[in-house]
């Protein structure tokens, strides 16, 4: 059952923005249940790759297979339902809504009552609302945000806002969780807590995680595998200890192009 172990397969992924190649034939696999770190210098194409996975960008060439289905045949709003949740590099919360409401949105893809049934408040609505609230509270509790449930998701410390995004992503019961720079803007202690949190969540919810991160210590500490991009190309892939020693990677980061 080796083929089943790959939850996400990226093949020959190429994205071009008006002549600039953002991703150039990138290929790698994400194995089920693993934490895969995606690293590379600024502008290497990490977020571009994430945006392809969320269908914000359509690649010029290549294929993205999630559990054997081509993601490129699905519209944006169907991605969450397939089992892929994400967080955003520069926070994408709903600032006029409470923390609880934000996280409840995470469960939107798992429910389906629409305008008509809501307007008339037909019986399935109450049941679904209870389900959404329970799921959201569970997720909020997991991230230690209970005391802020009724607070607006704005005007809170940056690290807290990041946790809210994390909770919202988990409320979607994803199989694959995409974390875009979760440690960005956090202080040393918060990064340390985040690392153990990601590991706990992976264990508890049996998740697969694809992680874009600049914080090298954290990536190397928690990843099972690390993929390194530079100028849109994959330059290395392997266990953290291997990648760290890779001369190509060292050159990309320290730079001898001067």
């Amino acid at each position: 059952m080796a083929a089943n172990d790959v939850i996400l397969a990226i093949r020959d992924l190429t994205v071009r923005f008006s002549g600039i190649v953002a991703l150039d034939g990138v290929e790698f696999d994400v194995e089920r249940g693993k934490i895969v770190g995606l690293i590379g210098p600024n502008g290497a194409g990490k977020t571009t790759l994430f945006n392809c996975l969320s269908r914000l960008y359509t690649p010029e060439r290549g294929q993205i297979l999630f559990e054997g289905h081509s993601l490129l045949t699905f519209p944006r709003h169907k991605i969450a339902k397939l089992g892929i949740s994400r967080t955003f590099q520069n926070l994408a919360l709903f600032p006029t809504m409470t923390v609880l409401e934000n996280v409840m949105l995470g469960a939107h893809s798992r429910t389906k009552t629409g305008f008509f049934r809501h307007a008339l408040r037909l019986p399935p609505v109450a049941k679904e609302e209870r389900f959404i609230r329970d799921v959201a509270m569970e997720s909020i509790t997991l991230l230690g945000l209970e005391h802020l449930a009724d607070h607006l998701a704005s005007g809170l410390p940056y690290g807290t806002l990041k946790r809210i995004e994390f909770a919202r992503a988990l409320a979607g019961a994803p199989k694959l969780l995409l974390l875009d720079e979760p440690a960005g803007g956090l202080n040393h202690e918060e990064v340390f807590q985040l690392a153990s949190l990601i590991q706990q969540v992976r264990e508890r919810l049996k998740l697969t995680i694809l992680l874009v991160e600049h914080h090298m210590n954290m990536v190397m500490q928690i990843s099972d595998k690390v993929v390194v991009l530079d100028f849109g190309r994959k330059i290395a892939e392997g266990r953290p200890s291997e990648v760290q020693r890779d001369p190509e990677v060292i050159r990309a980061y320290l730079g001898d192009r001067i």
Binding site: H108, T111, T113, G172
Partner: protein
């Protein structure tokens, strides 16, 4: 900036807050319930003490309130702009006028048909409107408002051209001991309550959250699985339906429709009412409706020469005193009344009013009323 400090305070006082929160919440709910029941009693007894003309004025307020609620759902809760809702008001009005006078269809049915027609028209208009954002959508809808009188005149074999159509005022059914104006008052009030209930249902659950999520951050909403295109078009349809039903009732109340009463000024007036009342609020629609009905009348009484100058001054005063609309002010007052026992909540309020808008147009009123749909 005391934000981090106050957040930390909340952190350390978890248990304290827990103890006061539910009490405050149930307190607030009680206040609201008492207020609602008292308002309803007053509303149903009121026409007995009013002159026919006064009853008509209140009928007009209810009709505007339905139209404004449609606009609030669209602008306040979904972040889509419209300066063209007068067109849907006209569509509703003419539907009723044509159906009752030409085909002798009972007016009750025509109200429903007007709603369904506008729902479809709004949905269809909402589809191409997906391509426009913010001010561009406002302009596109404004074009609709500008062309409405011309379109109505163009189809003159249906609409009666500039002459318009004269309707029969609905007669009082079942031999009720009230006059026609009082009956219209009760009819519109009942429709209003029904539509307010539907809106409240729609906005307080999964659908309402998705609508607001689109307003706050469309990309994140879509990433959560919200079908933005469908939700925006459907919201446009629902919004148009409300305004169309208002138009239908308006035609019955005035017993006359003519193209030039559905000009661009009507659409702008709706927007004024919406903002004055509180744009992301259900109850705000009522205050906004009272404003656009009564302020021009009083302005006329104060100065026959320049009533619109008076209107303008009053409008500016309102915006200055209540930047989040009447509903926003009311919400804050209620919060202060019910939360007095816990001192922490004032720190909490500071945080709650700090700006972090994704969409500056809709978000600050939205925040003021964010507790409303709970």
């Amino acid at each position: 900036m005391q934000l981090p400090a106050s957040a930390k305070e909340i952190d350390t006082r978890t248990t304290g807050l827990r103890a006061t929160r539910p009490a405050a919440a149930s307190h607030a709910r009680l206040w609201k319930l008492v207020g609602l029941i008292l308002t309803l009693i007053v509303a149903y007894l009121l026409p007995l003490g009013l002159s026919n003309y006064q009853a008509f004025e209140f009928t007009q307020v209810f009709i505007y309130a339905i139209a404004l609620l449609g606009l609030n759902i669209l602008i306040g809760f979904n972040g889509q702009f419209s300066l063209g809702h007068g067109a849907f008001y006209a569509l509703g009005a003419y539907t009723t006028a044509i159906m009752t006078t030409r085909w002798d269809i009972p007016y009750g049915w025509t109200i429903i048909v007007a709603g369904v027609l506008c729902l479809i028209a709004g949905f269809l208009f909402g589809l191409p409107a997906l391509r426009f954002e913010g001010l561009y959508l406002a302009l596109a809808t404004f074009a609709l408002a500008l062309s409405t009188p011309q379109i109505l005149k163009y189809f003159d074999n249906w609409t009666g051209g500039s002459q318009g159509i004269v309707l029969d005022k609905p007669s009082v059914p079942l031999g009720l001991p009230i006059n026609a104006d009082q009956y219209l008052y009760y009819l519109t009030l009942t429709v209003l309550l029904l539509l307010f209930l539907l809106a409240w249902n729609l906005l307080r659950g999964r659908v309402g959250r998705a609508m607001m999520a689109i307003r706050d951050n469309p990309i994140a909403a879509e990433a959560m699985g919200v079908n933005n295109a469908l939700y925006k078009s459907l919201t446009f349809g629902v919004s148009a339906m409300y305004t169309g039903i208002a138009g239908s009732l308006g035609a019955l109340a005035v017993a006359f429709v003519a193209p030039d009463t559905f000009n661009a000024f009507l659409s702008i007036n709706f927007l004024v009412g919406s903002v004055v009342g509180g744009i992301a609020s259900i109850i705000g629609a009522l205050f906004g409706a009272a404003f656009i009905e009564f302020v021009p009348i009083y302005a006329q009484e104060i100065s026959r020469a320049a009533p619109w100058a008076i209107f303008g001054v009053v409008l500016i005063l309102f915006m200055y005193v209540m930047p989040t609309g009447v509903a926003g002010l009311l919400h804050r007052v209620l919060e202060r009344l019910t939360r007095r026992p816990s001192k922490e909540s004032s720190a909490d309020n500071v945080v709650a009013t700090s700006p972090a808008p994704a969409d500056p147009g809709a978000s600050s009123p939205a925040r003021a009323a964010s507790g409303k749909h709970e």
